[in-house]
Amino acid sequence: MTLRESATRIARAGMVITVLALAGLAAVYVRALRYTPVEMNQGAAQKIFYVHVPAAWSALLAISITGLLSILYLWLKDRRIDLAAAASAEVGVAFACVMLTTGPIWGKPIWGTWWTWDARLTSTLFLFLLFVGYLVLRGVLVDPGIRGRLSAVIGIMGMMLVPFIHLTVYMFRTLHPAPIVLKPSAPSLPGVMLVTLMSSLGVFTLLYIGFMMQRYALGLLREAREEELAHAS
């Protein structure tokens, strides 16, 4: 099987998964908006939690996978691993956009401000900007070897920030709520709300997989075209 054929197969599989995940997202919207009760203290704005938390989970998952793939790339020097790391980084930036827009929309009615420069928000914004820089860097570097090595270093640095971001709510005084699911004790959320949150987490994880496969296939298709051009000239 040629590189182009395998890329086409991955793109098709990724498309199917993405369509299924988007249908799942529509179902999550219906469940969250129609069938999940309104929280008494925060009101309807609390429901923003069902998209904000899964988007944050997918963004941090994508960035962690970028870091792991970056380590693998520096070890094995396989360009397909570099392409996969770049694919995961771009998907992570997309999910970070959801996280960084829905967060302030929740913050305004609950905190009374769109943004505050506390440890959790500032470190998350820094991570987002780091990965925007990662993508810009990849766009300007022509040599694949240099591009792969430099972006792998940024990818690993970004991954190292992920546990720090998770722990900021324990390490610093911050307005951001502490985790209610990813914590040592049992989740502190009523059952019906927990089911909605877990469904949304599943759907966003599936979206990550579908997006990642499509973006990786796009990288492979570009690679195949560049190889064909190099052979032709």
Partner: protein, 40 residues
């Protein structure tokens, strides 16, 4: 009575959907364009 802030919830759900669906469309279009450029 819970506070009346439903408009923020609606805004957040719309923004999230626009970003996610927009990115899905962007990926599909870029893959189609890449396949067209390479004649596949």
């Amino acid at each position: 009575m819970p506070p009346d802030n439903g408009a923020f919830m609606v805004a957040a759900y719309i923004v999230a959907a626009v970003i996610v669906v927009g990115y899905a469309i962007s990926l599909a279009l870029r893959i189609r364009e890449e396949r067209r450029r390479s004649g596949g």
